[in-house]
């Protein structure tokens, strides 16, 4: 590989990747940030012109300093060149961008591709549609199995790409098809019915109305099936689009996860504040009720005692026996003569006594009122005490509620300070949107299932109609002949279907065996991996399916990569032996594997196991490692298999950063050095 001004790599740098029997490894040591990811991507960029998603600033292909040193209106180039041998032919692939600088900032450019073929006779000739040729040598669909980041490997099988309702691991399925070149068979399966239709359409209803009717019906069914299948595809796209939305929302929410407990706390505080406010309002209205209904009683102090006093005075005055009318007394006084005949003269004591009683006599009816009113007065003092108690209690209730409110509000503003920079509405909106997309996804799944069911029933109907067609008594010679031809085509189709199934199963079986084999070499636990009929990778224990940890996933992924590489090689080797031509899926090639951080976040035991197993995975393996991943046994194992070793030496203009070295073969090799500007240099470590 030759790099020129490509991203972190300044100037031209060459990476010798050749390997030998028994030494299939090339080790490249690099610090995080030194350009390991760039190097891994350089392979894929050279072959396919694209980067993986984890590459930042994808438009900045040309090294920053090279770009900065280029004058306006001058042209500047960055490129990656891969030289490799495939099936006895040597190829040179150059992917490059050449730009005339017009702005200060780099802008996205479409890279150009040159593919040159050097035949066995040493004649070089450029290939016109180079990308097609690359696709035949190493299909893009398989790139993730040959160029990968170990830290993201578990994602290959963690279900991200699996679609429910289809129950198949799409990516793996596609990869298998690419390996086997099964697309041609699939295309044939799709095209053959059209052949049948074309043949059948030569019979018109005059010749044989029954056959015509049946074949028309078949036409309709085919059209309907096409529509439904298209609908299913559309829905699948929708499902995965909605899924992506949900996942990206989840990622966004994850960033807010730290804030989540705080938000929960805030919500609960808000609820409590509201509750305290409600209580406050309740106490306030209780107070009003008290004041409104009984407030006036508070002001009766003194009135009650006065009324009682007046009533008592009345009672103390002498009174007439009940029933004696005032008019009776008045008559006696007027006549100055009692009914008993005795004189009652004015001025005598008798007269005065009667006169006094006359005053009270008129008060009889009033007296009753006085007694009633003064009776009511007796409890007033007690009532006033009650009101005082209730009001006091109420006042303390209100005070408590208010104190609680201000305490909670202080707490909430404290939380708000901590939540600064987190937009709560954002999170709530995200959650709302997530719900929305999740329900849309569910709807799409349901619709997909329905379409699937419709397709199934159309297929059944097709089969039945096909049978009727075959069994129908052809009316004319021509009709019978065509009937026969249609039947033949259908037979071919059935055979192809069978071939597809058998081949798929064959590869699955091979892969399964291979995965088991590689896995058992690496893994300590007594798990057995299995590639099931749906091409899903599972791990089994004695007690059933095991839950996979990141580490286990990684080993599983690694095993699978090894298995794919191996199986691809076997298949192409077999094809060659059988002298099959035309299908070029990397004939007998050595399949290289390029991996970054193959140990992800595994513990040491696994690292050692993998480092032992790696060289046996495939015949050319380029491994990018950071210092922390190259220690002790691991380094020893890898070095034994290494044909070449390189260090990505990063130069930094930040002279306050410490210079670093890495120990390889008991020698210190510069790793981070001071320089005039930021760039990375590939330096060979002499073994």
């Amino acid at each position: 590989m030759t790099l020129k001004n490509f991203r972190a790599f300044y100037g031209e740098q060459v990476l010798d990747l050749s390997v030998e029997e028994g030494k299939p490894a090339v080790l490249i040591f690099g610090n995080n940030g030194a350009g390991k990811t760039t190097l891994l991507n350089a392979f894929a960029w050279a072959l396919y012109g694209t980067f993986s998603d984890d590459v930042e600033q994808q438009h900045r292909i040309i090294h920053d300093k090279v770009w900065a040193d280029t004058a306006f209106e001058e042209d500047v180039t960055a490129s990656v060149r891969l030289d490799f041998e495939h099936d006895g032919t040597r190829f040179s692939v150059v992917r490059h961008v050449t730009v005339i600088k017009e702005k200060a900032e780099q802008e996205p450019v479409e890279p150009a591709l040159t593919v040159t073929e050097i035949g066995t006779d040493g004649e070089a000739q450029s290939i016109l549609n180079g990308q097609d040729r690359i696709e035949k040598i190493l299909p893009k669909g398989l790139r993730q199995f040959f160029f990968f980041n170990g830290e993201r490997m578990e994602k290959m099988f963690s279900g991200d790409v699996k679609r429910e309702g289809e129950g198949k691991n799409q990516e793996v399925q596609e990869a298998i098809k690419t390996l086997l070149d099964l697309e041609s068979i699939e295309r044939a399966l799709e095209d053959l019915p059209k052949v049948s239709r074309k043949l059948a359409s030569e019979i018109d209803s005059k010749e044989d109305s029954r056959l015509k009717q049946l074949s028309d019906h078949m036409d309709q069914l085919a059209t309907r099936q096409k529509e439904e299948v298209a609908e299913m595809l559309r829905l699948s796209g929708e499902i995965s689009a909605f899924q992506k939305e949900v996942q990206s929302i989840d990622r966004a929410l994850l960033q807010n996860r730290e804030a989540e407990p705080l938000q929960k706390k805030r919500d609960s505080l808000t609820r409590r504040i509201k509750a305290a406010h409600d209580r406050h309002m309740e106490f306030k209205s209780r107070k009003r009720e008290l004041l409104s209904r009984h407030g006036f009683l508070a002001l009766t102090g003194g009135i009650d005692t006065k009324v009682i006093e007046l009533a008592d005075e009345m009672r103390e005055r002498r009174q007439l026996p009940a029933g004696i009318q005032r008019s009776f007394i008045e008559d006696i006084l007027e006549a100055q003569l009692c009914m008993c005949g005795r004189e009652v003269r004015k001025g005598t004591q008798e007269y005065e006594e009667l006169d006094k009683r006359k005053y009270n006599a008129g008060l009889e009816d009033v007296q009753e009122n006085w007694m009633r009113v003064s009776g009511k007065m007796k409890n007033l003092e007690e009532r006033r005490q009650e009101i005082l108690e209730q009001l006091t209690l109420n006042a303390s209730d209100i005070q408590k509620a208010d104190a609680e409110i201000s305490e909670l509000e202080a707490e909430r503003s404290d939380v708000d300070r901590q939540l600064e920079g987190v937009n709560i509405q954002d999170v709530q909106r995200l959650i709302e949107r997530r719900k929305n997309y999740a329900s849309k996804e569910t709807d799409a799944r349901v619709a997909h299932k329905e379409a699937e069911n419709r397709v199934t029933s159309i297929k059944q109907e097709e089969e039945a109609t096909g049978r009727q067609y075959r069994n129908a008594e052809g009316k004319s010679e021509k009709a019978r002949k065509i009937q026969k031809q249609v039947e033949l085509v259908e037979n071919v189709r059935a055979a192809l279907r069978e071939i597809l199934e058998i081949k798929t199963e064959e590869v699955r079986d091979q892969l399964d065996k291979k995965v088991k084999d590689v896995f058992s070499r690496i893994f300590i636990k007594s798990y057995v991996p299995e590639l099931n009929d749906d091409f899903e990778l599972e791990l089994h224990t004695a007690s059933g399916v095991a839950i996979r940890s990141t580490g286990e996933n990684q080993i599983l992924g690694l095993s699978f990569v090894g298995a794919v590489s191996e199986v691809a090689r076997n298949i192409s080797a077999r094809k060659k032996n059988r002298g099959e031509a035309s299908i070029e899926t990397g004939n007998g090639g050595v399949y290289p594997v390029v991996m970054d951080a193959p140990f992800g976040n595994l513990d040491l035991t696994y690292q050692e196991e993998i480092s032992k197993a790696l060289p046996a995975l495939t015949s050319q393996i380029i491994t990018l490692l950071s210092q922390s991943q190259a220690r002790g046994k691991v380094l020893e194992n890898l070095q034994q298999a290494a044909n070449q070793m390189y260090v990505l030496r990063s130069f930094t203009s930040n002279h306050s950063a410490g210079e670093e070295t890495i120990v390889i073969n008991n020698r210190e090799v510069p790793y981070v050095s001071h320089g005039d500007f930021e760039h990375t240099v590939l330096e060979r470590v002499i073994l």
Partner: protein, 158 residues
């Protein structure tokens, strides 16, 4: 026999009564309750204020259905005319109603003054202060109260 089945409310205090019984900010649930409170406030201050212009009168039955509402007119009448026991007789009912009305008018005027003077306080606070004051301090004519004497001698004006 003269008998009034309604009592009048002073037109002058129409707005104030509206405030007192405002659904949102008023302390009193009904006009009757506001008038009863005002009457006792007037009585406590020893003020009666005659008035001529009245708003739509209120049915006495409303007052009589309330706790102590049925003796309120009698109480006020009895203490207003201590030398005239007949004030409680049935045919003097209109007089008792008038006493009530005029006390209420005076009470309303006092409330109006307080609201002007303490415009920063809400109505509930003004009313409850009056209530607490009424509960904790004896009426002016009670002279057997030490606290009152001490307060009076200290020239504290309540």
């Amino acid at each position: 026999m003269a008998y009034t089945d309604r009592f009048r409310r002073p037109k002058e205090h129409e707005e104030l009564l509206g405030k007192l019984t405002d659904r949102k900010t008023g302390t009193f649930a009904t006009m009757v309750e506001a008038m009863m409170f005002a009457a006792l406030l007037g009585r406590r201050r020893g003020e009666r204020k005659p008035f001529e212009h009245a708003d739509e009168p209120i049915r006495l039955a409303l007052m009589e259905s309330r706790d102590y509402g049925e003796v309120l007119l009698d109480m006020l009448g009895a203490v207003e005319c201590p030398d005239d026991p007949k004030i409680l007789s049935a045919d003097r009912q209109p007089d008792r109603v008038l006493i009530f009305e005029e006390y209420a008018n005076a009470g309303l005027s006092h409330l109006q003054t307080l609201m002007h003077r303490q415009s920063d306080q809400d109505l509930d606070t003004i009313i409850s202060n009056l209530v607490l004051e009424g509960l904790k301090t004896p009426p002016l004519e009670d002279e057997n109260d030490d606290v009152g004497d001490i307060l009076a001698s200290a020239d504290l004006n309540w």
